[in-house]
């Protein structure tokens, strides 16, 4: 088996066997359960319509995916360096890009687990509403791109910075800055500055895709520009990661 695949397998095993992986699963379940209960209660009280509840649940899952990507990405190399497990990996006959690809696949596996975990919750809050299948489909697409962008950036930082704490601080700051335009009020978001921030921001792009698909029932054609923005970010991040990994040191 290819060394990269062996590493991916280990990353996958770590999600289920290591205490950190198990803690992540428990935490994700608790967060999803709490929000699902809140949203279902709101729907029952007719405070939210069904599509809005699904959209909010999907948004929470995207936010959780980005958070997990940053946390696990920060741990990718810097965490291994902190735990002194990086050096034996660097001794193995696998090159830097192979190592980075394996780590990135590990992040995507974590996302896949979160996504599978989230499907029943999405169904619970939106089983009687519209666009549930489209919501699930676009959630997977947008979530995968978000994990690539934020996880890849965290991995690149992790390859360059010495400690996991430093990477985590920087990664979370990056995530907060990226998510901040989403907090702008509706009128400000409609202004020129707001539109640029909305368009040039992968996090906002992901939420706008979900909004467009779930609330407005718009098709793929409406999402192409937003998807292109996210893919562009993804490609830039991958190039950055490729550059960072070439100077990876124990």
């Amino acid at each position: 088996m290819n060394p990269g695949l062996i590493l991916v397998k280990r990353e996958f095993q770590e999600d289920f066997k290591a205490s950190r992986g198990l803690a992540f699963l428990v935490l994700a379940t608790l967060v999803l359960s709490a929000f699902a209960v809140l949203l279902v209660s709101n729907t029952e009280l007719s405070l939210l319509d069904n599509a809005q509840a699904v959209y909010m649940m999907a948004g929470i899952i995207i936010a959780l995916a980005a958070l997990v990507a940053v946390v696990r990405g920060s741990d990718g190399f810097a965490g291994e360096r902190d735990r002194q497990t990086l050096e034996p990996l660097l001794l193995a006959p696998i090159n830097g890009p192979g190592l980075a690809a394996a780590k990135l696949c590990g992040l995507l596996f974590s996302w896949l687990i979160l996504f599978i975990l989230a499907i029943p919750y999405l169904w619970a809050v939106g089983s009687t509403g519209q666009n549930l299948f489209a919501a699930i489909l676009y959630l997977f697409l947008a979530g995968t791109l978000i994990v690539l962008v934020f996880g890849g950036a965290a991995l690149a930082l992790s390859a360059r910075l010495k400690t996991c704490k430093a990477v985590l601080s920087l990664g979370l700051t990056m995530l907060l800055l990226s998510a901040s335009p989403v907090l702008l009020g509706p009128s400000l978001r409609q202004s020129a500055v707001g539109r640029v921030l909305d368009l040039a921001n992968p996090f906002a792009a992901a939420l706008n895709i979900l909004d467009s698909v779930i609330i407005d029932s718009q098709g793929l054609a409406w999402q192409l520009l937003r998807l292109a923005v996210m893919v562009s970010y993804g490609l830039v991040i991958l190039w950055w990661l490729y550059r960072a990994i070439r100077r990876l040191e124990p």
């Binding site: 290591a18 001794l91 193995a92």
Partner: protein
Amino acid sequence: MPAIEIQELKKSFEGQAVLHGVSLTVSHGDIYGFLGPNGSGKTTTLRILLGIISQDAGKIAVLGLDPTASGPQMRRRVNALPESHGLYGWMSALSYLIFFGQLYGMEFSGGDYRARLQQVGLDPDDSRPVRAFSRGMKQRLGIARAMINDPEVLLLDEPTNGLDPRGRREIHDLLLQLNRERNLTIMISTHILDDVERLCNRIAILDHGLVQYEGPVHSEAGRLLRYRFHLGSGGVIPSPWNFPGISLLDRKDSWITCTIEGQSPTEAINTLITGGLPMVEAAAVTEGLEDLYLDHTTGGAS
């Protein structure tokens, strides 16, 4: 072709020079001691040899390969035990070894992995996670990992650090066995002289980023330091000591240790016998490893 050849190796970190031009040669089948105080550049040299950091200047060949240009290719034939174990605490010893075996593309059966654990004195049926292991057990597992690709060259960074005397002795025996049975070339970075005296046939002493000494551990032409004389059971040392050119350094049981100046050893022995000391035996004390180490190091990081 030597197993390892380093010429004028230089490396700086953030403008601070760590290696100033290290040169050394390790032959096939050697157990080579790489000595030096903390911060002298030993670990940096090993990491450059393994191709996981690059040098600023100098030439390196490990089994004839340049670690920078042919890193993955070279690392199929070379392995190392870093100072830290680098073990995944949640894995069992067997699954850890299988993971690295697969990573190196080794086509071993389950029985092969079990045999390798047994070879380093670990129980393959021990299903405890590695984090529950003692330091000695972790070190053994680290060695089993470092041997997983049947390397021709093994680099060890402080392999017995933190082990008790029994654990240290067991690691010594294991390394000697591997060297004997497989003609494995071993380079050991350490400042524990007992390791070197037990294991190594050649050494380099590194200090302030330069090799201050390279040669055999037990030099036949070791520098003469002092003489020891056996006085026999009836020997009484005169007090005060009054033998010009012969200084008394120490007395233990019926042995005295002296330095001699301005006369030959024979003349000194005659002087002592004439002075009433019944001489039974005389021995020259040459420079030991500790003296060699202390003479060539100043104890500070560069």
